[in-house]
Symmetry: C2
Subunit: 412 residues, 2 copies
Amino acid sequence: MRPSDRVDGARLLARLMDLARFGAREDGGVDRQALTAGEILARAELVRWGRELGLRPYTDAAANLFLRLDGAEPSLPPILTGSHIDSQPTGGKFDGAYGVIAALETVQAIRDAGLQPRRSIEVVAWTNEEGSRFSPGMTGSDLFTGTRQLTIIESDADAAGVRLGDALAGVLGADVDIPHRPFQFEVAAFVEAHIEQGPLLERAGIPVGVVTGIQGTRRYRVRVHGEPAHAGTADRAERKDALMAAVRMIAAIDTAASSPADTKLTVGLFEIKPNAPSVVPADALFSIDLRHPDNAVVDRLDTEIRKIVERERGPCTVELKQIQHSPSLTFDSAVRATIARCAQVLGFPHQDIHSAAGHDARQLHYVCPTGMIFVPCRDGISHNPAEWSEPDDLTAGTRVLADTVWTLASEA
Amino acid sequence: MRPSDRVDGARLLARLMDLARFGAREDGGVDRQALTAGEILARAELVRWGRELGLRPYTDAAANLFLRLDGAEPSLPPILTGSHIDSQPTGGKFDGAYGVIAALETVQAIRDAGLQPRRSIEVVAWTNEEGSRFSPGMTGSDLFTGTRQLTIIESDADAAGVRLGDALAGVLGADVDIPHRPFQFEVAAFVEAHIEQGPLLERAGIPVGVVTGIQGTRRYRVRVHGEPAHAGTADRAERKDALMAAVRMIAAIDTAASSPADTKLTVGLFEIKPNAPSVVPADALFSIDLRHPDNAVVDRLDTEIRKIVERERGPCTVELKQIQHSPSLTFDSAVRATIARCAQVLGFPHQDIHSAAGHDARQLHYVCPTGMIFVPCRDGISHNPAEWSEPDDLTAGTRVLADTVWTLASEA
């Protein structure tokens, strides 16, 4: 009897659809941004499901949620498996949620198979992976792994001015009987299942991706300061138009990033003040998200971006702040081999695949052996209400996850 | 005894500074957008000042405020004089407010001189000239003159979703004993005093500008529709990036409008959705404000703008909507001559000047003889907290206004 024998695809899908009710959008998507009411209710539902399975819930100062199945040797560092349940404002039902529900199904399958692992296994939901409300994301895994410190970021505010520290206090204050644990407890391994968010597996007709690593990312905020002026009277030569300066910068950066063709450049956030049709904009703020698997490409564009913002600012002033720099990384070879072997034994076609997106697994990679399992998603679409994965693929990925986690939890 | 003899510059300035308390910004500017609490309180203060002077207040369905001094022949159409008291979010103390306070000072000077005009004189404050909250502006003068219909625009909403009709109902409901009048009652003439919002009078050292007309304006809203996608995974070739399309459009339109050099092009409003750093923008909305004294220039750029948005949309779709088209106009020659003659008699240097900005006088021009008086403002700065005019210039403009209004009210 292997845990994968007891993975129930229908139950997995039912839980995914159940979770998607929290923060449901009218267009079928999900808007369940971190620490909002929708996410708070979804987190409480996870606790309820975990308790029904006999798992003990824990949390920490980042509101990360852990659901623990005790192993035969409970003093050993546990295996963690999971992802996140927060979404983008225009998110779908699978990004993040799949990894958490697949982890819960994994633990249930192990229990239903009448097996007890040597090491304890914990289902985890990391807080604010997406970073759409409190930016940047990966808050829970960053704090857990010590990449960032709560005392430094607790004053960060969302667009409405709510502080991260207050939002966390609100969520933690509503918890009933969930003990707290410190950050950075020892972890034996972390495995995260996720939809690919790209088209490669679907095109290849392969249900399981063994993730080799994560491409490098740099994220910036650019603030342009000009001066407000009257749209009808201020002469072009006398304006300090923050919007026009920002437009010139973005157009030039887009051109610079057009080669190599697999460079990912996104300006996803753009705000101006006073944002009134008859006033020359005094301030502009925009984000830059730059990614490429080759660190040298990202580093070259970093240099170009810094030159461009100075060159195009005109009479305005500009501040460029890099808020994240995550080099490309390669996951632990033993974990990758275990995933591939479990897929092989189950007879699922599988292939190595590089992750273009960032994941909580990035942070865990620096503190314990870490791996990821990808499943195909339709047309590669993600961060979009149309996000979809076929139930057979979701089940295949979960079966591989179950055997992988069981194997890791059984090893010496 | 002429009314200008009794214009009190200190009282004028004191009332301007008093009014600037409503919606005061910490930086010394004013944020008193239409139908907000700040404007409601400022309007109530005007009513109080008017009643102290024995003027009778009236309003209408647009919440325009009229303060009436009865003439010897009260059945004759009145002379209207005033401007507006709403401001831009980053506005100053003078734009609009000066014309209303100068009108109040005019009426007080006439009364203090012991004079009674033949025609009634009404101080007027038109609602929502600026259009920063409910766009486009000129709402009060548009509705009064029949340019727009309340039944058509009452459902227009501000950024927070508040309907114009509800905002008006809130203001009118709080009025105490202010009778309503219909729109489009007959008006004998309208005179509006205003700061220049440009640098010409100050540079020439001339305190009084006789406004010859208003330059042509076209205003647009452009909506670009793309598709949300994941910043890390969606390939450049597969994206429908609404922000990048909008940036290309604005850069091209800016280039097209760079000649002739006195073309005024402003993109003052720019919003994207979902506005999240890790999501390729699905939608972009921006405003275009285009002005030039020569109608042919505005018309040529109108054609170019329509071509550019189609050419630069890439895989996105685009809707361009013209929300305003106001051709250049020339004010009534008799009113202009009266203003110039009054300035001449008072010994104030004066010159003809074209208005680059739109004003409520534009709408009144189509229903009655209309004119405007400009006074210099420092460095031509307006729509900016730093807006400033010298007290001597404010007084000079008001003295010319007082004699002009008196002359018009005395004519057959």
